[in-house]
Symmetry: D4
Subunit: 249 residues, 8 copies
């Protein structure tokens, strides 16, 4: 339940279109709701403008379904991240509006079309083909949080002319998300070209001394461009989320 | 030289108030300028809206003075970070407008008053007394990049009522910078209270398993609140810079 | 064989209800007992008030069954930790009183009801849904060591009002066990609210820079609240054990 | 201000021995008190039964003196940890009741004798001579939190008969603190001998693969004895604090 | 081909019992022998008194069989380490004298009985049941290098009386091998009891902060007992080998 | 398309053998080509003298086939690294000239015979049998980049006479690639024997404190021989590539 | 003594211009020479074309002087690296031809002018001003090994147009050395522009998550450009040496 | 007091040359002796054949003097390791027989000449000049534990002919100690040449990716030669001690 929905409900009470009892029943679970294995934070959409997102890894299909059931009573959008195909299939046949995005390992459930509330365009770049899963997770998160989103993939620094050929969308973006593995150099180069904030998301792509993304993470934290901030390895969701927070009016 | 200054110069050429030769001489070094030990990126203020900042650590007083001389020909504000008192004293007596902020190890040189260009307030929080040096570096950077800035220090999670007593400034800030060492828990708690982006800056405060700030850094990257992005350990300057980029109109 | 059982046996010898030979046979294995692949430390329950616990990981069902057989000759309670369902099924059908707790990967075998010997209540908190396995291991260990135990799950710091709504059980507990993964911030916040000891148990929940629980571990060791002590990653058993040692009369 | 002092004040108000205005003035700063560079948590002694302790490292003598001044208005005991001799000398000449314990790098300031409130004896063991500084910090903390404390130093596992000769105090202690560097083996051996909780504090004593105490820390977290919980490297204060929390009635 | 065999061959040439051509054919491959994927170092048994041992991990059954074929032409004993059951079954049916020791993952092939050439007894201790695989690898290596070997398992420091009950074999051994995982404390305690060299072999037994044996490794390198030297994690073979080198006349 | 092919095309345009339209169509994709999941850098063979190589790990057989299709329109040689047998089988049946080298996990596709353009011989050495996969990847890369290549395997430092018996090819090589795991000592010894550059490639062969090749990597970076440069762990391809760059006329 | 000098001496013996005894005296120390604390490897210049270089760190001025004395009897060039000013002053006043380069912490002693034997130009780039010390060490090493060397400093990726303005020297170099700290991204970008080998040398410039150069080192090892090989952190000497080996005719 | 001295004393009692009272006084402190800051383990020389050695680092000159006083009442030899010159000067003027070895940072105090009790020669090798301090510590320890010791310094693998020129002492040694920093390759090469045990001692010599000796340590633990065992970084004393234990009759 977001801020608009809450106000609407209270106005309905005020003008007699909703009984106090019904409103109370609705509001009872706003703070949070215990369903044995989870304490769902319904209050979050009021406080933060977007509901809790379900981290799918390590949860069973049944647990995810249970949490979705409860959240859908109050929310318009529900996202589930890090769900593999097998688990997703068990979930989406239960919800007619749920869509599984296999290239991002995400389930998206939308009840009503989401209005664009972001003030500019969020641009998602990836250094290589293998970084796309993470970049897509960022893309979908930002999109379903109400933003206009664009993406350009496989423009890493080993052939830097590929990057420069996209100068226009880069310079016009409101926030830029850059996903890169291996040496993680792309965010520094991109951030050196613009004045807007760059959210760098290291990926676990690489081998040997890439340490599952740590090298990219540390490189990004050491960026010689100062308009860079960093999220956890493979955390496309977090990158999309923080970019949306930045882009909100 | 920022975008406004450039346009003004070109207009002067257009209406005959500046000769082409003088304008050419002025513009010659816009791209960058070699002074033996440094290639100053004057173009940066055009491209990024704020000039290059001098990282003072590992540079001599003479080198810093030399770079400042060149930058001040074209820039209104020059910041030098990570300068200890002894080195600062050798520098500031050379520039009448330079001020040394000892609690942030920074030199600030401003020619004309800086207009507020940030659209909201940037709030800087610190978890402990020892985190203040880093928090102050963030504060001054954001301030001299044209923002309204507020700060609250020593409100760590061991006595969490201290934090909650500042609920109003926290909920009203446009961007929040949180500096914390040791277990680095404060950004998660703060970010859970608001919808705006939180820039977490880990500090090297602590001992033993704090690993000079690494534990705080990793904790912040793992924040269970999604509106958190992170900069390098003790990088108050970077936090202030990225917060300013976010806060710009 | 605990201290009470030993005294009883000796009294039986003293008053003629047990022959010296029988007593000798019983006592022969008190120090320890070799069964080829293990040297069972029967003396432990005398020395420490609770028998050796079987660490199930890396042992075959047959080995576990063999050790249980020997221990049950002398002990009232036998716990086996870290047993997956497949292995557990092979074991419990051999012992009519053995129960498998799948949510904690534990087998519990109790011969006679266990009296409550703990002086207060042990409270087990978990930060997230995924930390429950570890929290349940702590819960069952504390319970079968003779304590009154309570639990509250999924009350992490991203929605801190969930935690504060449980202020009463938190302030009334004799010892608090807090299981948390990711940034591991919950123990600091909880410990800041109470004067009693908090046993923090980091979990391997998370990804990227969570390093399989290391980040949570280090964060907990750096807690700015001083009434926190820490056990190994995912060591719910150890947390339950040390909490029981603290809570004993 | 601890719980007893608070009640006394309120009773004085109730029976007219204190005016409401005076009580209000006294109570005004109970929650916390801002002194520019610190937010002193006076409420802590009410909440936790012991006031905030000053971590001296990284604070100037002036800062420490300032914080002590404010705390002494409300507290009976003030401890300052990690103060070297030079800094301590500047501080203690300002407070007639302050004593500097050089072997523990601690300042202790006591207004009135501290009653013993701990229910048993806390025993502090050290593995080597070089671990004594940390052990002494634990000793003094526990003592000034109202406990009977005993200590035995230099009883490491290379000559284990030295340890066994102290079997009686070890078996009779209510809580045992064990400080050890290098391989950190002593807590496991000690904990194997008793049923009471053991607080292990790794020290940075050693070289090469001791990693400034990390090896001892990790060894202690992996203790094969289950009644062991661990605090940060060199954190004698934390060990003394958590042992006191355990030992409180 | 060891030193004795070489002398015998040369004596046969000297007294006419072997033709020069046959001897030349035999000796041709003494230096080393290329078999495409391996350069077998036959010279090693002359130089080092024991033939090259085959490290089975990462080699196919066919590769191992091929190398064994070549080695058995010249050697009396061939050992293969780190072979799982499935692979071993494919190998041993090819060699009538080969025996697979499943508890040590080793294949042993002996042509003629091995004389005892070690000057004393090598004792192999293990801290826990799970360390036995490594301890057995050490045991078999030492045995087939011509030593009298004894073993005692599961005598870790959490119940140290188990260790002291074996004081006699410990004090009488010529070399002691100690295998331990987790906190790796056993070698220090054992080495403190004797004057003979102790070879410590850390095992990967443990979880969380045991880091796959690293904690035990580092603890052993920091042993406060000075008669300890260390081999790689899980390297039972190396421990047996170096102990044999020490024990040789 | 390499530099020779480009000139030829332009000459054909010049002398009328190719129409401008056809040439334009051919050249259109020279800069790079978007195929949804990849931005193929065709310009690379002009710029660097060798086309982009396909890193097979983490790509599906379909993706690899798609990229090969596009590259083969313009290139004579296409290499795919890190392809297991199952995936390779799905790919090579689609291309009549593609060959799978299982011992190197590589697919090689050559349209016309490759002329030798390297100025000397590249020698590939491996320390052990298990390092061969990596050494073969280096061998094939160097070969298909137009070099004369030689290899010698299993000549590690434990039997250093094996190495010295190959003194001639070692001293005559133009560049030497040395693949080694475990302690990674071979490059230092080899580089001490010659004046030519040595490219050291650490392999992940080993266990325990070999850390998946990190120990070999660090050892090589610390080589006391100064003519050693290093590539990433298991990066046989990179070693072959950089050796080819060095060996080019 | 290099190869030419040796031949000259032998020819003098052959044609009677040198006595056998004198030649023998000269040649006696060719293999190596013991001077108590060092075994000087005079043979190295024959074997490797350049004499041993003295690593100055950790040696006293007297030790360095002693080794220089012995080397100068046989060598034309002697380099000493990592010598601070104070130590250098004590050394150079002893040798009239020794020059101290303070910006590289190196002493260079040349008897006769060094002929250019390198076949192309070696280009040394640095990412920042603080990387210059390392870059200069590479520069001087390459120069005194007989190469034409060029350098361009402070052209890091945050203002990438600075780099592109130097396209010509970059594309014309025979070997390129790139020194960079912080995120270490420059070698990847440079190597993507050329076909020649790039020697990347990470520097310890940076703070926090730069780990004294480790982040730059790992980034370079993960370069997405394949013509990059890496040397140890701050090892300008090694970079210059291996570049010289590559550039030799 | 070693075993011979004890027997002598008891025989004196038996034949009346010593009174029971005097013997009792002498024996009183055999188990251990408390001197406030240390528990001296006098029993050690009986149990281990060599007295406790004083680790000088972190102890004051006064503490060392105090411990020496007590030990010299019962022991013939006292060694103090890791003492810098300044501290040593304060100590040795107090003991007429104490000698300071500055190149090993050791004090040696001998009352009567030490008989050779080792059965063969211990050989100490060092890879470089900078490893000598550690090698000398090993040398002196082995010498004063009653062994014939030889040393050869600066014979690292970059010029391996230097090593091979010492083939005879290497092959004839009973135990070989090898000290090496940087890549730590020397022990593998030496151990490949002999059948006797090699004790490898890594040194902290190196920079960058040598990690203060960790790279050498890990390389040695991964030695492809199996007769290698390892001690802690810079632990020359431990190497000498364990070599003596091996060499004892």
């Amino acid at each position: 339940m977001n801020s608009d929905a809450l106000k609407k409900l209270l106005e309905q009470v005020a003008d007699g279109h909703a009984s106090v009892d019904d409103a109370a029943a609705t509001l009872k679970h706003i703070a949070f709701q215990d369903i044995d294995y989870a304490t769902i934070d319904h209050h979050r959409s009021l406080r933060k403008g977007f509901p809790e997102v379900i981290f799918g890894e390590g949860k069973t299909a049944d647990q995810i379904t249970g949490i979705m059931d409860k959240m859908l009573e109050q929310e318009n959008v529900v996202l589930v991240t890090r769900v593999d195909k097998e688990k997703a299939d068990k979930i989406i046949y239960r919800f007619s509006n749920a869509v599984y995005h296999e290239d991002a390992d995400m389930i998206v459930h939308v009840k009503e079309e989401i209005p664009i509330t972001g003030k500019g365009t969020i641009l998602v770049l990836s250094a290589g083909t293998s970084d796309i899963r993470v970049a897509k997770e960022a893309f979908l998160t930002a999109k379903y949080m109400g933003n206009t989103v664009q993406s350009i993939f496989d423009v890493g620094v080993a052939g830097i002319h590929r990057l420069f050929s996209h100068k226009d969308p880069i310079e016009n973006a409101s926030v830029i998300i850059v996903a890169a593995g291996m040496e993680g150099a792309l965010p520094s180069v991109v951030a050196g070209m613009v004045s807007r904030p760059v959210i760098a998301v290291p990926t676990s792509v690489g081998y040997g001394a890439s340490f599952g993304g740590l090298t990219a993470l540390f490189a990004m934290l050491n960026s010689c461009s100062s308009n860079v901030a960093v999220v956890n390895i493979d955390n496309g969701f977090g990158a999309g989320y923080v970019a949306s927070a930045i882009n909100r009016k």
